[in-house]
Subunit: 363 residues, 4 copies
Amino acid sequence: MSSEFGISLRVSVFGQSHGAAVGVVVDGLPAGEAVDLEALQAFLDRRRPGRGPLSTPRKEADAPEFLSGLEGGVTCGAPLCAVIRNADQHSADYTGLTDTPRPGHADYTAAVKWAGQADMRGGGHFSGRLTAPLCIAGGIAKQILARRGIHVGAHLAAAGGIADAPFPLHPTPELFAAVAAKPFPVLDDGAGARMQSAILEARQQQDSVGGIVECAAVGLPAGLGDPMFGGVENRLASAIFGIPAVKGVEFGAGFAAAGLRGSENNDPFAVEDGRVITEGNHAGGILGGITTGMPVTLRAAFKPTPSIARPQRTVSLSRMEETELIIRGRHDPCIAHRAVPVVEAVTATVLLDLLLEGNHGTF
Amino acid sequence: MSSEFGISLRVSVFGQSHGAAVGVVVDGLPAGEAVDLEALQAFLDRRRPGRGPLSTPRKEADAPEFLSGLEGGVTCGAPLCAVIRNADQHSADYTGLTDTPRPGHADYTAAVKWAGQADMRGGGHFSGRLTAPLCIAGGIAKQILARRGIHVGAHLAAAGGIADAPFPLHPTPELFAAVAAKPFPVLDDGAGARMQSAILEARQQQDSVGGIVECAAVGLPAGLGDPMFGGVENRLASAIFGIPAVKGVEFGAGFAAAGLRGSENNDPFAVEDGRVITEGNHAGGILGGITTGMPVTLRAAFKPTPSIARPQRTVSLSRMEETELIIRGRHDPCIAHRAVPVVEAVTATVLLDLLLEGNHGTF
Amino acid sequence: MSSEFGISLRVSVFGQSHGAAVGVVVDGLPAGEAVDLEALQAFLDRRRPGRGPLSTPRKEADAPEFLSGLEGGVTCGAPLCAVIRNADQHSADYTGLTDTPRPGHADYTAAVKWAGQADMRGGGHFSGRLTAPLCIAGGIAKQILARRGIHVGAHLAAAGGIADAPFPLHPTPELFAAVAAKPFPVLDDGAGARMQSAILEARQQQDSVGGIVECAAVGLPAGLGDPMFGGVENRLASAIFGIPAVKGVEFGAGFAAAGLRGSENNDPFAVEDGRVITEGNHAGGILGGITTGMPVTLRAAFKPTPSIARPQRTVSLSRMEETELIIRGRHDPCIAHRAVPVVEAVTATVLLDLLLEGNHGTF
Amino acid sequence: MSSEFGISLRVSVFGQSHGAAVGVVVDGLPAGEAVDLEALQAFLDRRRPGRGPLSTPRKEADAPEFLSGLEGGVTCGAPLCAVIRNADQHSADYTGLTDTPRPGHADYTAAVKWAGQADMRGGGHFSGRLTAPLCIAGGIAKQILARRGIHVGAHLAAAGGIADAPFPLHPTPELFAAVAAKPFPVLDDGAGARMQSAILEARQQQDSVGGIVECAAVGLPAGLGDPMFGGVENRLASAIFGIPAVKGVEFGAGFAAAGLRGSENNDPFAVEDGRVITEGNHAGGILGGITTGMPVTLRAAFKPTPSIARPQRTVSLSRMEETELIIRGRHDPCIAHRAVPVVEAVTATVLLDLLLEGNHGTF
């Protein structure tokens, strides 16, 4: 059950960062949906490591090959499988990591769980490399949703302790497109410049920083989701915690709501253009697990990249004694900005899954 | 899919707050487990509305009747069903709510989803009343876990903007028991007194406050959970977002990790008493979705009770025009302190589910 | 996972034959569906043990109490829970069975699985008594389906080696009603009389007989179900094997198809009243896992009642030696005729589940 | 949900018979299991179309490429993905099938479900070609089971109306290997010769025949599976009905049990070598959904190949009028003998899934 999510739309991810390929099977896509491969590639490129000082210089083409599910660029109703070959492998860099687990990584827990059999070179199945196939699934979901008037966008809400401006109450598809087109995906470019400085500074200090991604979806109908354990929050959170390094997920006002009064946090209902809306959106577009028709908003917290160049204390599992570890290879001093399209992708996939189920109440 | 969670251990909740009963079916409990009914009742009493000014005066006996699954007080391997009759119903208080949805409640989303057919009196299936059967399941899970050396505890980490002390790095079962025995479940009674003042003040102002519950589980083996979408975080978050009013869930350092450097957030590995431990626990006992053997720690944010006595703006769904609503009946000015055992219950249930799956790696 | 089935419509059964009650939770019923309780009771009465010589004289009122999910006799969208109290318990009759497992029963496998902790009195969770709550779920599903022009019926196709006439190519709702109204549910009353003689003869010889139930559903739209593992056959078979004593399930021509030529077994397509039909129905209304719009037909094989009065050879589990067992109490010499409404119930529930999912292709 | 099965061990199949590739993702394999690729290839070759007159002359190398999950020929705990490229495509043969659905195929139901968008060339996702990736998963499962003393074998129990001898009460791994080594997988070669004659005769008459596959698994522990809907029969049947052309599944005596007396069908318990056994095995190794420790036995009925060369009546969907269809290309006059390893593969996969769950009762 580890590598899959979804109910009507099932996404199954496979591959290791230093194996032959990574890929995804998506089962349940509606048939007859054209996939704009150029737009998909542009979406995938948003999570690629860049050439600038902010990212690892590893070059990944990330060009998916479609093995099934597309006929002439259109979904055919059968499961879609896409793979990305791993072209640029440096597994030699990772030699010897097995015995001395990297702090903040899954090396130790994998060693316990799989008794030393797990592929630990480069992170194995825990690698951020697996977010590439997630973006294939999500990039297709985004296109299908957009065709139905539903748009999903995200930005880097914080990094290195510096906050971006928040999304407005009603973010537009144009705003989403504008942020997506930026080399550094923030709303306030001044804040973005300060974040980049903080990231560079961390890198110079052989360190790394964390960040927060804010994501929103507009155009959703009211009535999606189910109460209690089948709610929109449950399903989004469950999937988003599958993105490596996520340690917190909140909706609407989230943790800040815990410090508000009911009179502040309740969103009054109003009528606008013949539709029921809420005047604020502390609820993040979700009440009782079900969409209100207002934008669904969420924030995901990413911990700082655990791979840092400075020496770290760890243990030798074979000798059961404490030792020091220096991680070689080049690593992103921050992954949160590259995670922006990944959060969009997973959010879009879950929302399409919810949409495909239909609204049982109107049956 | 709305009222169930779990994989090996399936929990299915039913009932409406103003119907005949609420209850739970728990399928997958190991056979031969004695259930201490007195201890279970004491656990259920912790979420009961009290008689003091902090809570609604509604008296609920919350005494479960077991319809199946127990033989002579011992689980028999068949699904356990327990029901709690609803003795104290005031559905008259809720008359007329259907047309004017309460801000912050699921009235509107339920009306959209079920086209007016949903039971909206008193919140229907969205009611906090359904946390009682969750506590039956979780109270039993806590007893089964304790028998295996695993203990789950929680406290009110914040309310009305006032913070309690955090759990120590290694909370003990005794600490859990001490907090559970308090009338107001905090670590720092001074902070607790200030929280209670803030709650009373909100009540006097016909308002309400939110809060945060911190929960920890100690004694877990390393190796539970799966990478990516089957991780401990995914499964806990998915279930905890099923508790009414939860708007955020974080593990370990959570959102605070986003503001840390990697050198601060990484927990160095060390050897203690022949076992691998981490020196801090920013990871909340989970790396790559899998338990490290350190305490699993999480925090859940509860929004302020949406039912407040002051007039609120809403709409008439039938006339599609804006109007004002006054919610009658008596409501908790804060539900977060009553949610403390509920978070324990859901956490314990998910952890037992994970434990029952076994560790596939050692197969 | 043992006591549940369904995807959009989840059915969870609980209770032991000699415990306090049996019952069912049905999650996912559409809201606003009136439940005709009188018709439901009439349906439940069809599986009741009768007073004649064919059945056990145990009298079960089988009158369900609804704990949740119904408001004024109408489904409200919340999970429905119904329980039937066990009034007539003779657990004394079953004393001592634990050590000497009854041949053909689950006593031995339950003893192995639950290490002696399972409730073995009267069959525990394996009991035919649990078909009563299945009939509550299915009886409600039948009413909801009938409102959409879909009718499910069944008859006893064989018992004691004597065959009834098969359903015609297009069974009508009137035919279903006529069979349901008979005290012995066959199409050919002459064959029914011979079956009853065979059952009586087996009883007189302290023995029992098996039988086959044929079930059909008419009025289904084409396009329900999914290819491969999500097909109508997969889902129906998976659920029907949950009825105690079922050892085989086939659709359309079933095992007989294995002896036919392709030219015989293929159903030619034709046009009738502007609709595509097939001229025969060897496919049982299902091609590639998906409904054709023709009647869905299936047959389920029931083994002879394993509880027989004559001495049987078994072992003492405690002494690990062979011994003889005499089963006391009164038992049905045939359960297949009482299983007719149960097969209808499970079939209707699965079909409603499929219908509630909608046809993703037309999304 | 259409292309997946399994709980702890998830199998997800993808690909179209005339697309780029077919493949499988297997999630949940235990880590550290060596995969004998030569033995796997030999297993895959058993389902390959042969060169003789009994099969289609299409040559498929069926050589899997492993994209993930294997490290040095050993499972690493991450999802395994294997693909088989489609080398020999004749999609031109299938032109024009879309408008005139082939009797006995899923063309019509796919057209209804996906409104003409489904890939109908060569059967699309309904193709027998997808049994190749099922055999990759199952071939690996068979190796893992064999390492634990569990062996799965099958033979062609009937074809063209001619019956093979049944498996003995206790089939041995040697017997399984002997049948697997035969070019025509029967126990009684005389019966096999007559079956082959019947198949050839059908082919000469532009027709096809059906058949029955009997499968058995030996060495299973008692106690696997769950009562009611999680039973071994439910899960095996649900998966086996996912093999194209299966119309019936039975366990042990199956449909024949419906014609037996209880005194005949009940398997007496006995003690042999200090273990509890049953003297016969009418139960097919399963009582109450749970394994007894005796061989699990099942039979699956395959309908005759629907693609036959003689003209068949069908309809033009665009003109809604009746017409005649001639299916070009070369097709197997019988697929049941090629289905023998497929039934083994699916059975082995389900049994490994059950085994990986562990026996909760001994927790």
